[in-house]
């Protein structure tokens, strides 16, 4: 069973001005981060249970905490996976999903099973790739998109066009 209490506790501790402003010694800052990370774990179980109950299927949910640096083991290795997008806003949003993927072609389907446009682009200063597709998510609700690798095809990844050498 999940538990949000550890994260509540960590957030309470981090109201201290040192945590808010970063005016603590390094080892204290590290401990703040440790408390937050320890709080995430039980919360992710809680969210998984809620999603299983709301979606009607018990999944091994993966929370990729490093999407901002294009790291997500599941999307980078799986041949097919589901993407559940939750919208906390009180209004419907369209949102561009970006996920690190392997060097393949993918088909993305929306909750009704319709194929939606997607692109694979190269990640700057690395040879990684990211899958992009636009998701529509209802107010205070979620949408589940499915992503499937197309076997045997390589993406025509959009080449980076080098430019602007050192000015004269």
């Amino acid at each position: 069973s999940g538990d949000s209490e550890p994260l509540n506790e960590a957030m309470a501790v981090l109201q201290h001005h040192d945590a808010v402003t970063g005016t603590s010694r390094q080892h204290v800052a590290n401990d703040y981060a440790r408390q937050l990370a320890a709080g995430w774990g039980p919360c992710e179980v809680l969210v998984s249970n809620a999603l299983a109950r709301l979606s009607g299927s018990k999944e091994d949910f993966a929370f990729c905490r490093e999407l901002n640096i294009s790291v997500c083991p599941l999307s980078q290795t799986a041949k097919s996976f589901q993407v559940t997008i939750y919208n906390p806003l009180g209004r419907q949003v369209k949102w561009m999903v970006r996920l690190p993927v392997s060097n393949h072609v993918f088909v993305v389907r929306d909750p009704s099973g319709t194929i939606v446009p997607s692109n694979v682009v190269i990640i700057p200063s690395s040879d990684g790739r990211e899958l992009l597709f636009s998701a529509s998510v209802p107010a205070l609700g979620f949408s589940i998109y499915s992503v499937t690798q197309v076997p045997g095809q390589r993406p025509r990844a959009h080449k980076l066009q080098p430019r602007a050498q050192k000015p004269k």
Binding site: T21, G22, T23, S24, R25, Q26, A29, V47, S48, L51, A52, R53, G56, S57, K58, E59, D60, F61, A62, F63, C64, L67, N68, C72, L74, A78, S80, F81, Q82, V83, T84, I85, Y86, N87, P88, L89, V93, K94, W95, M96, L99, P117, S118, N119, V121, P124, S125, L132, F133, S134, A135, V137, H158, L160, Q161, P162, R163, A164, P167, K168
Partner: protein
Amino acid sequence: FRVLVIQNEYIRAKFDPDTGFLMEMENLEQNLLLPVRQAFYWYNASTGNNLSSQVSGAYIFRPSQQEPLPVSHWAQTHLVKTALVQEVHQNFSAWCSQVVRLYPGQRYLELEWTVGPIPVGDNWGKEIISRFDTGMDTKGLFYTDSNGREVLERRRDHRPTWELNQTEPVAGNYYPVNSRIYITDGNVQLTVLTDRSQGGSSLRDGALELMVHRRLLKDDGRGVGEPLREDSSGLWVRGRHLVLLDRARTAAAGHRLQAERAVLAPQVVLAPGGGAPYRLE
């Protein structure tokens, strides 16, 4: 070299072919065009001087000189254009890069900056800023928010409640920015939304700057007892600035709604799929 351009239905951004820096932003919907140059600079952190022994540190921002130094005079750029995104990748140096992005339907320019590890081999602490320079006549005024709610007017070298004798021309004009900072000439407004709290200011008319990272070598004597010198993962920082160009009278609607979308952005959870059906009973 041709001018690099990225655009969608609402925004067009042009980049200087010689330097690779952003040089112009256009709001196509409201027919607004603003020459704006954006680049990264660094302040040399003070270690105390004849005026004051105060060192720049965790509690105190105190550059050793008023003018910041450019991280680079040019950026290596790459252009990516697909149906779902147009972006310019800018490499300013080995430790400073940025991706300027536009998605279809987006009414702001996304600047995803990555800074670090800040080199300190020269034994100088450094405080890195992203600075926007425009020709707007802002009359010494700029605006910063308080926790995303009330926006306060700031006037350079001035305090509304007491006669300020400005002794720190840079740090004395820095204010906390929790979610947004903007400048306006009364007709056009340039707003920058942040994805975390940063220090920000407008140190000359038409300019707007935000501090994105710091790496200091001396303690500032205010109680921490060690310099603000992150190690391991804290060496690198990646974040985003969302840049909006609007008419001054309608700008609030734009940045208020966009800031709410940013702070309550959708959350993504992945799963292999094909799980067993699940019902409470």
